[in-house]
Amino acid sequence: MNYKVKDISYRYSEDGKNVLNHVNFTIEQGKVTAIVGPSGCGKSTLIQIFSKVIPSLIMNGVLEGSFDMPEGTFVSVVSQTPENQLFGYGVEDAIAFGMENLGISQEEIVERMEYVLDLLNLQHLRNRSVATLSGGQRQSVCIASVLAMNPDILIMDEPVSSLDPNGKLMVQSILGQLRVSGTTTVLVDNNLVWSADIVDHVIGLLDGEVVFDGTRDEFFRDFSLQKKLGVIIPQEVEIYRELSKYFKEIDLFYTLEEAKTQIEQLITKGSGLKSFSESCSCAPIITTHNLTKTFSDGFHALMDVNANLPVGQVIAILGQNGSGKTTFVKHLNGLYKPTSGDVRYKGDSTLKKTVAQISKDIILVFQHPEHMLFEETVERELTFCARMQNVPFTEKQLEEVLNRYDLSDERETFPLNLSMGKKHMLTILSVLFSSADVIILDEPTLGMDDFLVKDLEQMIHTLTAAGKTVVIISHEIPLVFKLADSAILLNQGKKLFEGCKEELSRKEELFDAIHIALPPVVALSKSLGLEQICYTVEEFAEKIKKLKK
């Protein structure tokens, strides 16, 4: 039994524009269907129609067409922020909540509870309280609580967008389990990096219309479509895309192992990495001295961290959640004061300055844009830092930035009405008008599609070209390696490594220790014996071309 989306059109008000336009496709039972498309393409509206939020909660719109499913079909949703979706103090309470609502008997609740805990390998969490779980664990419990209600269709809305690599792995394995157990799953996500191996069927949406309906492999072979939709695809597939320009015989691959086997047959193995001389001797702009932070509950968040941030570089802070990354950067801009140790900007301690004073030199852009936006228009938001710090700016500069980052039409818009990715871009752009010469970005790619990520890359280049130092925390490891010049690696509050990217890429054991995978291009450069490590797909393809048999 498949579920048919039949000619659905929707607008939020009588005289509004159609956000969905004659949408037709089929959701196959027991398969994983991915719906992809840039922000604003109508994905979220589609979820609301499937889950009957339209019309039961949002009633003003006009819905034409229908979503055909048998009477009593139950659709449930896992959202991108599990904290809004877990009702109950303990893990068991939260999982039982939905079942209790359905009025299921206690014996059956017990039975289903055991079933989902076993299926998703969550038995070890059952006696924990929700508040103490990590992001990945929380999302897993959230999936379990929805699954326990035995939905006919399970929708996941960007379920890993806010998770660290460990959390992503956890949800990835759960998605795999769901596929094996034959749960009909709809994944709504413009990032297919983590799910590429599991998805069966892909629907591409653009401006409310279906522009692609086919299998995963067909989708990954259609390069222009991926670009048009701004879908973030696994780097392995990008490698395939670049290499297929030079090698006709190459076949589509998704995993590192497949990539390696295929490429090995095409080329003569290289002679291995050339040794390199360590030459990262830029003067540091910020230094930390035995930085130690113990929180009031006794948690040692940072221990004796001595680090140098070289001026004019892009510096990545790497580590799993809980390794102390955010705590570390909050010390740099003065939000946290160390338990002991010192932070110095150009040699002078910043401990006695207020956060606002430090922001003239060092500015921190937060993970969640909603915390930062509080002006009435995009224009005022953009100039917020400049006005707070009394930095002059001209109308021309303002227009330039608005034009360059596609915001001129939204100049007078209320910032909170922008899409998540654009909101984030706006908060980051506002530092362009600040006097700070160190800019810290905490998870800047959150909610961004491929187009916005490209804009972000552009902007970081603009900043470093102007001699500014950029510190970036991100779980998007391939992007980090592409952008960064050097890195600081933290693990459980201790610094494991500090130095340039080249040196870091050669230390595989460090990545094993923190359970983060090297980007595919870096791993392949090494295992295929290239003379140099490549950080971008283009560079890598060039090198492989030269080794062609």
Binding site: S281, A283, P284, T287, H289, N290, N306, N308
Partner: protein
């Protein structure tokens, strides 16, 4: 697990100083400047921005020598002085001070050639060293400079160890703690 070194960040150079037990109740972290080009260059540059205007620099042999050399180079000084701990054959007419050391319970001498002591007379002199700890060698150098008729314009070091870090009269880049040892059960 006891760490057997102390890590610190000195003007952007992160160094691990081995910890050495020097008495029953405490350990010190031993700081070796000799041979460390990067640190000498960066520390000298940082010190050069802090020190007052002077005519000459002086240090006592041996660990302060690379630092004073680099500092003099940055400050464009053609000469600097190194006080020796014994009279050398080249000294035709040695200029000597004798100091009694409390820690070693011995008499110690510092000396310069007469020609050098003459150059010092009436000039503003900066005393330079790698680490200032008890301040004893500093005192000896002060005595030597004063006896030669120089005016001490300041005292500078890369590290100030233990109580020296609280002294107002010295310029330094980083404090270096002492490590008390709780006697094992």
């Amino acid at each position: 697990m006891e760490k057997n070194f102390y890590e610190m960040n000195i003007v952007g150079c992160i160094r691990q100083l081995p910890r050495v037990r020097v008495a029953d109740h405490f350990e010190i972290a031993s700081f070796v400047l000799l041979g460390d080009t990067e640190l000498v260059v960066k520390a000298a540059a940082a010190l050069a921005e802090k020190i007052p205007e002077v005519d000459y620099l002086i240090t006592a042999e041996a660990k302060g020598i690379p630092l004073v050399q680099e500092l003099a180079r940055i400050l464009n000084m053609k000469r600097y002085f190194v006080a020796r701990k014994s009279i050398k054959p080249y000294m035709t007419d040695p200029f000597i001070t004798e100091v009694y050391s409390i820690t070693t319970q011995k008499k110690q001498i510092l000396c310069l050639d007469k020609e050098e002591s003459n150059m010092i007379r009436g000039k503003k002199i900066l005393i330079v060293d790698d680490v200032i700890s008890t301040g004893e060698s500093l005192k000896a150098l002060e005595a030597l400079v004063t006896k030669a008729g120089g005016k001490i314009a300041g005292k500078a070091a890369i590290l100030a160890e233990g109580d020296a870090a609280h002294r107002e009269d010295i310029l330094f880049l980083e404090p270096l703690p002492l490590f008390p040892v709780t006697v094992s059960r």
